[in-house]
Amino acid sequence: MSVSELKERHAVATETVNNLRDRLQQRRLQLLDTDVAKYSAAQGRSPVKFGATDLVCCRTLQGHTGKVYSLDWTPERNRIVSASQDGRLIVWNALTSQKTHAIKLPCAWVMTCAFSPNGQTVACGGLDSVCSIFSLSSTADKDGTVPVSRMLSGHRGYVSCCQYVPNEDARLITSSGDQTCVLWDVTTGLKTSVFGGEFQSGHTADVISVSISGSNPNWFISGSCDTTTRLWDTRAASRAVRTFHGHEGDVNTVKFFPDGNRFGTGSDDGTCRLYDIRTGHQLQVYQPHGDGENVPVTSIAFSASGRLLFAGYANNNACYVWDTLLGEIVLDLGELQDSHKNRISCLGMSADGSALCTGSWDSNLKIWAFGGHRRVI
């Protein structure tokens, strides 16, 4: 076939794909007969009401000397690892506020960090395009330098996010500016699977965030600057299971809902969205009111039941608490006592759901918990 014939077929195929996408969008709109907020209001639900001192900042973790970019909890025992512009990973005991480790990184440009399920190793990645693994039982020199126990090399762009597969200390997923996600075998340092990239369909721009399902660890979602979120099955890397549209800007953060059947996203377009995995429906848009410009969402976390969605934004120190059922903001952590002094860049919920940790450009982490009177139904 000649080049010109190929180009013609290419143009026809592009048109076919665009038409199919339009038809899909139309059909989805027809199926969107309601959203969660309208449905819940019709079922007689009312918004969560917080008293003035219900959610409180009960710890401030001080020690970083630069912006905090990322944080992760252990699955147990209340430890947190955080990564900062100061080129360090710090491991905290969140209950006592003590630092147990302060690891000086070989590459200071770190963007993400994660705790292994057994709590014995931490992973981090950033502009060096590598995901580095450190053992917490290694001895640091007086500078805080710890030998890297494994380097996961192969990405051709920055490592934006990393997460260990739940209950598997030897498997980890990264997302990258090279438009791919990779599942790694930490023991060998080799790639097990690549999701997207040159040779198979996937994201068409930088991938910024991943989240692995707690209820089905074969599934994970990735959010990208191509405005989509994709659901992947680690057993079939050649194509995404489903692609979720709706956002009008970079998807900066994705998080599975506690039951694993839904997920939330946050974007540069200023909204958070809730999607259903099985049907692909966009169930709700969480958009702050106001005439101002849309302020990008930097990070999100769900409370244990999913009733609350915490969202950090790229302006002052706002962290809106959304009632996910009614689609309303019920609190702003930025207006509480002891709130952060700069934007919140990362959020994480503790394993038992009793505490939210926020990390900020003010170089601190804070722990928030419910200190009010609790009514048990």
Partner: protein, 101 residues
């Protein structure tokens, strides 16, 4: 990679050369587009039998209301003893405030 052709003394290629690298690229993109079209058609078929959003909203509501939540003022039980661990011991533990320099 270039198919054989002639080049002049400055190394430029004559018009008879075909850039097969370009041809391979277009071919690969075409294959990807055709595959994408098949995926989209499959998805359209699934959508024909798909429930409306209200069914998913009901599932969502049921899921949220079935789980205990430590951060809510009102929640179903059971309550876990660790929920209040943050308020036990010395109030607002000052903890370690040293800075890493």
């Amino acid at each position: 990679m270039m198919e054989a052709g002639s080049s002049n003394s400055s190394g430029q290629l004559s018009g008879r050369v075909v850039d097969t690298r370009g041809k391979h690229r277009i071919h690969a993109e075409l294959k990807r587009l055709e595959q994408e079209a098949r995926f989209l058609e499959e998805e359209l078929e699934q959508l024909e039998k798909m429930d409306t959003a209200s069914a998913s909203c009901k599932e969502f509501l049921d899921s949220v209301e079935s789980k205990p939540d430590p951060l809510l003022p009102e929640t179903i039980g059971p309550v876990n003893a660790t929920w209040d661990q943050w308020f036990e011991g010395p109030p607002e533990a000052k903890g370690c405030g040293c800075f890493i320099l």
